[in-house]
C-alpha cells in the first residue's frame, strides 16, 4: 500500500496478473485480438465515457481493422479484444492501483434485436469466469449501474461485477456496458440473415492490476484457521514447491533433479533454489507454513525413503494432507492437476 492509499503490485503479484491476462486472452476464442495500445483517451474513467467509446478513434480503427483483416469474422455476433495502457484508473474507492494501469477490453458486437439476451449471457459468463478463480464463488455480485442523464436508457445498460469482502468492502473487477449503435458508421451483416445492420456493442473492461489485487485479497479472505493464501491453482505464480529434510548430498541432487524435471515440463516453481532443504521437522513445518502463505498449491516432500524407492509425498495446501506418488509419475501427474 502506497502513501496515497493506492496499492502497487510487487513481482509476485505482477506475475499473478500476467497469468490472469493470459487467461483473459484465451477466453472467448471467437475473438480477433487487436493488440496493445497506449492511448489513454478511450478508457471509461468517468461514468459517462462508458457509453461514448463508440465515438473514439480507437474504436473506429479497431472496427476498420476487423473488416479489413478478418473479413470472415466481420459479422454479428463477433468479438474484438485489445489491451490499453492508461494513466487513468477506473473509479474504485476500496482498492485502487497506482497508474499506469492496463485495461483489458473486449467488445462484443451483436445483433441489436438480441442485444439484451447477449448482454445477460455475457454477464453470466463473466461472473462464472471470476468465480472460478475465487476462494469463495459467492462473493461475486452483478450490480446494475444507474445511467447518467445524458444517455438514452433505451440504448444503454451497464453493470459492474463486484467482488465483495464482508459487509462493506467491494471492488468492481469488471465493467460491462451495452450500447446500441445507430446510423451508418458501423454496419455489420447478421450472421443468420445476412442483412446488414448497426450492431449493439457489449464492452467489457477489466483493469488488470486492480482485478489482480482483488483476487489476491480474495485469496486471503476465507474463514479458515490457517493463514493460507488460497490462490487459484491455475493462476498461482508458484505452482509447486520441493522440500525435504536434508539427509545427505544425494538428497540435494534428487531435489535438483526433480526441480529440473518440473521446470522442463513448464511448471512454475518457488523462487530461489526452487527447493528447500530443511534441517529438521520443525523447520520443515515452518517452510510449509510459508509456502501456504505464499499460496503455493502443492509441495513435493522428499524423504530418505524417496532415495530408496522413489516414493514421495505430494502435499496439498488446501487439504493439508499428502498423497504418496512415485517419482516416475512426475511431471505428468502434476501437469494434469494444472490443466483445468
Amino acid at each position: 500500500v502506497l502513501d496515497d492509499s493506492r496499492v502497487e503490485l510487487l513481482a509476485h503479484g505482477q506475475a499473478y496478473g500476467e497469468l490472469l491476462k493470459q487467461q483473459w486472452l484465451s477466453l472467448r476464442p471467437l475473438a480477433a485480438y487487436l493488440g496493445n495500445s497506449d492511448s489513454s483517451v478511450d478508457v471509461s474513467a468517468t461514468h459517462l465515457q462508458r457509453f461514448s467509446f463508440a465515438s473514439s478513434k480507437r474504436f473506429h480503427s479497431n472496427f476498420e481493422q476487423l473488416v479489413r483483416e478478418h473479413p470472415r469474422k466481420a459479422k454479428c455476433p463477433t468479438l474484438l479484444k485489445h489491451l490499453c495502457t492508461s494513466s487513468a484508473c477506473l473509479p474504485n474507492p476500496f482498492l485502487s492501483h497506482k497508474p499506469p494501469v492496463t485495461h483489458l477490453i473486449t467488445d462484443f458486437l451483436v445483433e441489436p434485436y438480441r442485444a439484451l439476451e447477449h448482454f445477460y449471457n455475457m454477464q453470466r459468463e463473466s461472473k462464472i469466469w471470476w468465480m472460478r478463480y475465487s476462494s469463495n464463488p459467492s462473493r461475486y455480485r452483478i450490480v446494475a449501474r444507474e445511467l447518467p442523464a445524458e444517455v438514452d436508457a433505451k440504448d444503454c445498460q451497464a453493470i459492474d461485477i463486484m467482488s465483495c469482502y464482508g459487509e462493506e468492502c467491494s471492488v468492481a473487477v469488471e465493467q460491462l456496458s451495452l450500447v446500441k449503435l445507430h446510423g451508418d458508421d458501423f454496419r455489420l451483416p447478421d450472421a443468420r440473415t445476412g442483412q446488414t445492420l448497426p450492431p449493439a456493442v457489449i464492452r467489457s473492461v477489466i483493469e488488470l492490476e486492480t482485478a489482480t489485487c482483488a483476487l489476491l485479497v480474495d485469496g486471503c479472505d476465507h474463514a479458515r484457521e490457517t493463514q493460507s493464501l488460497l490462490l487459484n491453482r491455475v493462476l498461482a505464480p508458484y505452482q509447486c514447491g520441493i522440500a525435504c529434510q536434508e539427509v545427505d548430498g544425494d538428497m540435494a541432487d534428487l531435489c535438483l533433479h526433480i526441480k529440473d524435471v518440473l521446470l522442463r515440463a513448464g511448471l512454475r516453481l518457488c523462487q530461489g533454489n526452487g527447493y528447500a532443504l530443511t534441517k529438521d521437522a520443525s523447520q520443515l513445518r515452518e517452510h510449509i507454513k510459508l509456502s501456504d502463505m505464499m499460496g503455493v498449491p502443492y509441495t513435493l516432500l522428499l524423504s530418505e525413503q524417496t532415495l530408496q524407492n522413489g516414493l514421495l509425498q505430494l502435499r496439498s495446501r488446501d487439504t493439508r494432507l499428502a498423497e504418496t506418488i512415485h517419482i516416475s509419475d512426475l511431471p505428468n501427474y502434476l501437469m494434469n492437476m494444472f490443466k483445468h
Binding site: 469463495n136 488446501d318 487439504t319
Partner: protein, 1131 residues
C-alpha cells in the same frame, strides 16, 4: 331521478332504502370521476337491513326485474335479532364504508329472470355441439372397421360398405370419436390417428412414418442456443381437422389428442370443441384420494368399501370401459411399441397398431354411449357442458422468450449447482485436515465417517533379476549435469514396475474423501467434455456427506445419519462421558447441555445399567434386550416431555445420546433421505434447521442455493416437456410478421379432473407465483400475448369463502350479510380490523396471518385437532394445553357448539331444548336407544359460521347431494353410502363449496361468451382465476365484460338460493387485469434468480393495466353495453 323510485316503493310501509348516505369525499371524487356523475350515482344507493350496501338501483332493476325491494315487518324484526347476533360476535355494522354506485346499461336478459337467462344462453351455446354429439351417443352400431388400413400419409376415408380407401384433406363429418398415437422415442408429434363418425372410418398417418426421411425442410430452430437441443414442432407435423364452424371431437383424455391437432395452435379459434370421456367419468363416478388409493391397492377391500367400489374405477380407458361397458377387458399390449419402440417398429406393425388405435376409438364410443346419458341426467344445466367445452379449449400463446426462459433457468441452475458444489468441495478439503492427530474423533458431524487411509506400497523386488529399465525422456538436449542426475536416479525410476498394477486413489487421504474424487485420466483417454479436476469433484448437495460438511443442526442438536432410520439428530442424556465409545460426547455437551426432560432419564438409566451389569455373561444378551425394553416403556413419558418436532425411534447411541429422527412429511414411519430436500428448506428460515457454525457463510449459502433450485428441479421436466408448436411466418396474421418467433402451448387440461370437477393440469394449474428466491418461478409470465393482443382476466375475490357464507346467509336469514360470517365476508375490511381473519385473530390471540390459514382450513373441513397442530407449528412456544385451549376457543367462536334437538316423540318425557352431545348420548343410553332414534341430526349453534356449516352439512348429508347453483350431483362413489352419513363427510362438505365454485366458473365462461361472442379466446383458468386472449382494441370492452360477468354470475347464484339482491362489495371484480403477459398482478416484475433484472428491464415488458369497474366503463367507451355492435346486432 329518485322520484319515480320512491313511488315504486310507496307500497312499503317502512322506508328502508335510506337516501344518500353522503359518500366519503375520497371515494366519490376519486379517479377523475366527474362531479356530476357522483351526484347522479348517489341516488342509486341502497342498503339492506343489516347495513350491507346493495347493488345500485338501476342494476337491480335490470337483473331482478320481477323483484321489488321491499321488506316486511317480520323481516325487520328478524333483522333486529341478526344485528344483535352480529354485535355479539364483534361486528360493528356501522363500520363499513360505502362504495360508489355504478350506472350500467346491460344487454337485455334472455328470459324472464336471471335464471332463465343463463339457461337460455348456455343452451344456445352448447346447441351446435350437442347436435354433433347426440348422433354419436345415439349411434348403436358404428360403421364397420375396414379390414385393411392403407399406408398413406395424411387422412384416408374408408367407405362403410366396401372399405374402399380415399385420401381426403380432412374428415368430412364434424362429429368424431378420435384417438392419436405417439411414438415416444421419436418425439411428441403424432404418428398415427384414427377417427370415426356415424358415417365412416378415417385414419391419419404421419408423413414421418410413410417417408423414411421426412421431406420437410429442417427449420432453423428459433433462437435456440447451440448447447440446447430442444425439440421444435411446427404445424406441418400435426393433424389437420379443418376449421370454421363448430365441430366436435370425443376422446378419452382428449386434451392429449387435442394438443396434436393443427388448427388448435392458430391464434384464431377453430370452432372445434372437445368432449372428454375421462372428465365425464370423473363427474359421474369420481373418487377421493383415499378411494383412489383403495382402487389401486391389491388388497382385499373392507366391507364398508364394497358399495362404492362397484360404482367407480380408476381413470384409464381400460378401467372406465370395464366399469361402464363390462365385457372383455381391452388389450393394451400393442401400446408398448408406441412407448418403447422405434418408428421402424411402428412401420412393421402398422396394421395391428392402427387396429389397436381404432379399438380404443370404439371403446371410447361405447363408453360415451353409456356415460353421456348418465352425465346429462346428473348435470342437467346446459352451462355445465358449456363450461366443460370451454375449459377444454385452453390456449397459451408464447414467443421466443419461452426458449430464452428455459435456457436462462437451466443455465442459472447449473451455475448455482456449480457454486454449491464448489462450497462443499472446499468444506471437504478443509475437513481433510482433521485427519491430523485424529482430530476428527471430536468432530460432532464427521466422527462416524470412514477415516481409514490406504498406503501406496511397492512390491518386493525380485531377488535375482534386475528390474526392467524404464525408458527416460529424450536426453540429447540436456546438459551433462542433467544427464548425470538422470543416470544417478535411474534406479528410482526403474522401481515403477514394483508399483501395484491398480494404483490406489489418493493414498494418504481418508476413505470418505476419496469417494468424492475421480481418478485422474490416463494420458490417452481424456474426454474433452468431462474434464478432470483434482479434489472432491463428485460432491453434490444430495449426498449424505453434504449435511455433515455443512455442520447442520436440528433444534440445535447435530444431525446424524443412521442407515435404518435415515436422518436424525443426537440429544445427549448424560453428562459423564465414560461409556461413550465413539460419539464425541464432550463436544456435544459443550454445544448442547443435557435437556431437562432427558436428565432424569440418565439417572434412572444409570441404576438400570448397574443392575444389568450384575448377571453373568450368559444373561447379558437377555438383559440388554430388557434394557432396551425399559427405554421403550419410558419412551412415552419422554415423548410427552419433549417439545420439539423430532421423532422418537427407540434408539440410544453409545449409551449417552438419544437418536431422534427428523420428521417426514408423510408421517413418523418414513425415513428422511436428505435434510437438504424441498420439504426441509423452509425449516431453515424457521431456524429449526441451521448450521452449527453460524459464522460459516458457506453453509448458509449452500442452503440458500438449495432453496433457489428446488422449484426448478421439481418442475423443469414438466416445463421443458411442454409441447410448443411454432408458427411459420405465413401461418401468422399479417400484423405479426415482424421476424420474431411465435408459438403456442395447448395445455393438457382435464376439464373436470377431480371429484369436485375442478380442472386439472400438472404444469400450469400448480404453477407457483413468482418469488425472488425461486429459480424459474417466472414461468407464468412467459405466456405472452402476441403484439396487438392482450390477456384480460381477473381473480374472483374470495370465491369459496363467499359461496360458503352466502349459503349460510340465505339459509338462516334470507338476507345478505345477516350471519356474522356473511357480514364479515361482504363488508369486513382488513384495514379497520373487521374482516373475518382479524376478528378471529383478536378473539383467540394469534396473528392475523395464522388466523387466516386456520380459518380456511376449518372452512375446508379441517377439525379442531388439525387447528391445534397448526397453532403449535406456527408458534412452537405454545404448550400443548395452550394450543388446545386456543383451538377450542376458536372453534367455539366460529363453528359453534353441536346441539341436539329431541325427536317429537320424546317431547313428553323430556324438555324440548338443545342438548350437548354429552347429554344427548347419555339420554339415549338411558333409553337404550341410538342417538339418532332419540334426537334429530345435530346442528351447530352460537358460532359465526354455524349457519354455514348447518347448511353445508344439510346439503352434504342428503341422499342425493346437489350443487346449490347448477344442481349437479355428487359422484356416485360418494353417494352410494346413504346409511353411513358420517363417512366422507368432510369431503362432501368440501365438495359442496368447491363444486359450487366450479359451477360458478362454468357460469362465468358462459356469460363471457355471451357478452363477447367470438371476440375473446379462452386462455386459461385456474380455479378462481380466468384469463382471455383478446385483440388490443377489444381489451377494454373485454375488461368491462369481465366485470359484468361477475355481476351476472353472482346474481344468478344468489337467485338460485332464494336471494333476489346482490351486495355491492361483491358485484364487481376488485380489478380486471389487462396485460401482455400472464401474471398474478399486472405490476409484478417477476424477478427471480433466473430473471434477475425483472420483466421490465430483462425482457422489455411493461407493466399491464388494472381496471376497476368505473375505469373499465370509462375505457370501454361508456356504460351502455347494449349498444356494442355484436350485441345490438343480436337483438
Amino acid at each position: 331521478a329518485s322520484k319515480p323510485r320512491r313511488e315504486h316503493y310507496a307500497s312499503s310501509a317502512i322506508k328502508i332504502y335510506r337516501k344518500v348516505k353522503p359518500l366519503p369525499q375520497k371515494a366519490a371524487t376519486a379517479d377523475r370521476q366527474p362531479q356530476k356523475a357522483s351526484v347522479e350515482v348517489s341516488g342509486e344507493y341502497s342498503e339492506n337491513l343489516v347495513k350491507v350496501q346493495m347493488i345500485s338501483q338501476n342494476l337491480h332493476r335490470q337483473i331482478f326485474p320481477q323483484t321489488t325491494r321491499h321488506t316486511t315487518e317480520e323481516q325487520i324484526a328478524a333483522a333486529r335479532q341478526h344485528k344483535e347476533d352480529l354485535r355479539r360476535h364483534g361486528v360493528d355494522i356501522e363500520s363499513s364504508a360505502p362504495v360508489p354506485d355504478v350506472q350500467l346499461q346491460l344487454p337485455a336478459l334472455q328470459g324472464q329472470n336471471i335464471e332463465e337467462h343463463f339457461h337460455s344462453i348456455a343452451k344456445e351455446q352448447v346447441e351446435p355441439y350437442e347436435q354433433l354429439l347426440l348422433p354419436l351417443v345415439q349411434c348403436r352400431e358404428l360403421p364397420a372397421r375396414p379390414k385393411r388400413w392403407e399406408f398413406l400419409a395424411g387422412w384416408t376415408a374408408y367407405d362403410p360398405d366396401d372399405g374402399t380407401a380415399t385420401p381426403v384433406e380432412q374428415p368430412l363429418e364434424k362429429g368424431l370419436v378420435f384417438d392419436v398415437e405417439v411414438c415416444v422415442s421419436a418425439g411428441q408429434a403424432p404418428v398415427l390417428a384414427t377417427a370415426v363418425s356415424t358415417k365412416r372410418w378415417y385414419c391419419w398417418v404421419s408423413p414421418k412414418l410413410t417417408k423414411h426421411r421426412l421431406a420437410v425442410e429442417k427449420v432453423e430452430p428459433c433462437d435456440v442456443g447451440a448447447d440446447f437441443e430442444r425439440p421444435h414442432y411446427t404445424l406441418e407435423e400435426l393433424i389437420p381437422l379443418g376449421a370454421g364452424g363448430p365441430s366436435l371431437v370425443v376422446g378419452h383424455n382428449v386434451s392429449y389428442d387435442r394438443a396434436r391437432l393443427r388448427e388448435q395452435y392458430r391464434i384464431e379459434d377453430s370452432g372445434t370443441r372437445f368432449v372428454d370421456t375421462m372428465s365425464l367419468h370423473m363427474c359421474v363416478s369420481g373418487v377421493t384420494s383415499y378411494q383412489r388409493a383403495m382402487l389401486k391397492s391389491k388388497k382385499e377391500p373392507a366391507p364398508e368399501d364394497l358399495g362404492w367400489l362397484e360404482q367407480s374405477s380408476l381413470n384409464s380407458l381400460v378401467e372406465v370401459h370395464r366399469l361402464y361397458c363390462g365385457g372383455q377387458a381391452l388389450s393394451k399390449e400393442p401400446r408398448n411399441i408406441f412407448v418403447e419402440g422405434t418408428l421402424e417398429q411402428v412401420r412393421t406393425n402398422f396394421q395391428s397398431l392402427v387396429n389397436y388405435c381404432a379399438g380404443d376409438v370404439e371403446a371410447t364410443h361405447r363408453v360415451l354411449r353409456v356415460l353421456y346419458p348418465m352425465y346429462g341426467e346428473r348435470f342437467p344445466h346446459p352451462a355445465s357442458l358449456a363450461g366443460m367445452l370451454e375449459m377444454g379449449s385452453a390456449y397459451l400463446p408464447v414467443n421466443s422468450n419461452w426458449e430464452r426462459y428455459i435456457r436462462e433457468a437451466q443455465l442459472t441452475y447449473e451455475d448455482l449447482s456449480i457454486e454449491a458444489k464448489y462450497h462443499l468441495g472446499r468444506r471437504a478439503e478443509e475437513a481433510c485436515s482433521l485427519l491430523d492427530e485424529e482430530q476428527y474423533r471430536s468432530n460432532l458431524w464427521l466422527w462416524d465417517e470412514d477415516w481409514s487411509v490406504q498406503q501406496l506400497k511397492l512390491k518386493q523386488a525380485p531377488k535375482r533379476k534386475s528390474l526392467p529399465r524404464v525408458e527416460l525422456p529424450e536426453l540429447s538436449d540436456l546438459s551433462s549435469e542433467q544427464r548425470r542426475l538422470y543416470a544417478k536416479f535411474q534406479h528410482l525410476y526403474d522401481q515403477r514396475s514394483l508399483l501395484p498394477a491398480r494404483r490406489p486413489l489418493l493414498p494418504g487421504y481418508p476413505q470418505w474423501y476419496r469417494k468424492l474424487c475421480r481418478k485422474p485420466p490416463t494420458e490417452d483417454a481424456e474426454l474433452e467434455e468431462d474434464r478432470w479436476t483434482p479434489g472432491a469433484s463428485e460432491i453434490s448437495t444430495g449426498m449424505q456427506i453434504a449435511p455433515k460438511l455443512l455442520s447442520l443442526c436440528w433444534e440445535g442438536y447435530p444431525l446424524h445419519y443412521q442407515r435404518e432410520h435415515g436422518w436424525g439428530f443426537l440429544v445427549p442424556f448424560r453428562s459423564d462421558a465414560a461409556r461413550a465409545e465413539r460419539i464425541p460426547i464432550q463436544e456435544l455437551l459443550a454445544r448442547c447441555a443435557v435437556p431437562e426432560f432427558a436428565r432424569q432419564c440418565a439417572s434412572q438409566e444409570e441404576s438400570n445399567l448397574a443392575y444389568d451389569m450384575l448377571p453373568g455373561q450368559l444373561e447379558e444378551h437377555l438383559a440388554k434386550r430388557q434394557h432396551y425394553k425399559k427405554i421403550s416403556q419410558k419412551q412415552q413419558r419422554l415423548e410427552a416431555q419433549y417439545q420439539g418436532s423430532g421423532v422418537w425411534c427407540n434408539q440410544v447411541l453409545d449409551d449417552c445420546c438419544f437418536f431422534l429422527k427428523l420428521p417426514h412429511k408423510n408421517g413418523p414411519s418414513f425415513r428422511v433421505g436428505s435434510p437438504l430436500s424441498k420439504d426441509f428448506l423452509n425449516k431453515f428460515s424457521e431456524n429449526v434447521l441451521s448450521s452449527g457454525e453460524p459464522a460459516c457463510q458457506a453453509a448458509a449459502r449452500v442452503i440458500d442455493i438449495a432453496r433457489m433450485m428446488s422449484y426448478w428441479r421439481n418442475n423443469r421436466d414438466r416445463i421443458m416437456g411442454q409441447m410448443v408448436v411454432w408458427l411459420e411466418q405465413e401461418q401468422l396474421p399479417s400484423e405479426l410478421t415482424d421476424g420474431k418467433s411465435y408459438g403456442a402451448i395447448c395445455p393438457q387440461v382435464v376439464a373436470c379432473g377431480t371429484l369436485t370437477r375442478r380442472a386439472m393440469e400438472p404444469t400450469w394449474m400448480t404453477a407457483s407465483n413468482s418469488r425472488p428466491n425461486r429459480l424459474g418461478s417466472e414461468l407464468r409470465s412467459m405466456v405472452q400475448a402476441p403484439p396487438g393482443y392482450r390477456l384480460v382476466g381477473a381473480d374472483v375475490d374470495s370465491q369459496e369463502l363467499w359461496i360458503a357464507s352466502v349459503l349460510g346467509d340465505a339459509y338462516a336469514c334470507g338476507q345478505h350479510g345477516a350471519t356474522p360470517l356473511g357480514w364479515m365476508t361482504l363488508s369486513g375490511s382488513k384495514s379497520n380490523g373487521s374482516d373475518m381473519h382479524s376478528i378471529t385473530a383478536k378473539a383467540v390471540g394469534i396473528s392475523r396471518d395464522h388466523a387466516k390459514v386456520i380459518n380456511y382450513a376449518r372452512i375446508y373441513g379441517a377439525g379442531q385437532q388439525f387447528a391445534e397442530t397448526l397453532l403449535r407449528q406456527f408458534n412452537p412456544t405454545f404448550s400443548a394445553s395452550e394450543a388446545k385451549a386456543k383451538a377450542m376457543k376458536m372453534f367455539a367462536i366460529t363453528k359453534g357448539k353441536r346441539v341436539y334437538r329431541l325427536r317429537e316423540e320424546f317431547h313428553d318425557e323430556l324438555e324440548d331444548r338443545g342438548y350437548s352431545s354429552y347429554e344427548a348420548s347419555r339420554l339415549a343410553l338411558q333409553r337404550n336407544r341410538t342417538l339418532g332414534e332419540v334426537f334429530h341430526r345435530p346442528s351447530w349453534q352460537g358460532g359465526t359460521e354455524s349457519a354455514m356449516f348447518n347448511r353445508l352439512e344439510e346439503i352434504a348429508t342428503g341422499s342425493q347431494p346437489k350443487t346449490p347453483f347448477l344442481g349437479g350431483r355428487l359422484s356416485r362413489a360418494l353417494e352410494s353410502d346413504a346409511e353411513q352419513e358420517q363417512r366422507f363427510l368432510p369431503t362432501r362438505i368440501n365438495w359442496v363449496v368447491q363444486s359450487g365454485a366450479v359451477d360458478f366458473l362454468h357460469l362465468m365462461l358462459v356469460s363471457m361468451r355471451w357478452l363477447m361472442g367470438p371476440h375473446v379466446r379462452f386462455c386459461l383458468s385456474f380455479h378462481d382465476e380466468l384469463r382471455y386472449l383478446v385483440q388490443e382494441d377489444m381489451a377494454a370492452k373485454a375488461a368491462l365484460a369481465m366485470h359484468i360477468t361477475n355481476l351476472l354470475t353472482r346474481s344468478y347464484c344468489v337467485s338460485r338460493i332464494g336471494l333476489h339482491d346482490l351486495p355491492m362489495s361483491v358485484a364487481f371484480f376488485s380489478s380486471v387485469e389487462v396485460d401482455t403477459v400472464l401474471r398474478k398482478e399486472c405490476t409484478m416484475d417477476c424477478q427471480t434468480p433466473s430473471n434477475p433484472h425483472g420483466l421490465r428491464i430483462g425482457y422489455g415488458i411493461q407493466p399491464g393495466q388494472s381496471f376497476s369497474i368505473s375505469e373499465a366503463i370509462d375505457k370501454a367507451g361508456g356504460s351502455d353495453v347494449s349498444q356494442w355492435p355484436w350485441i345490438k346486432q343480436r337483438t
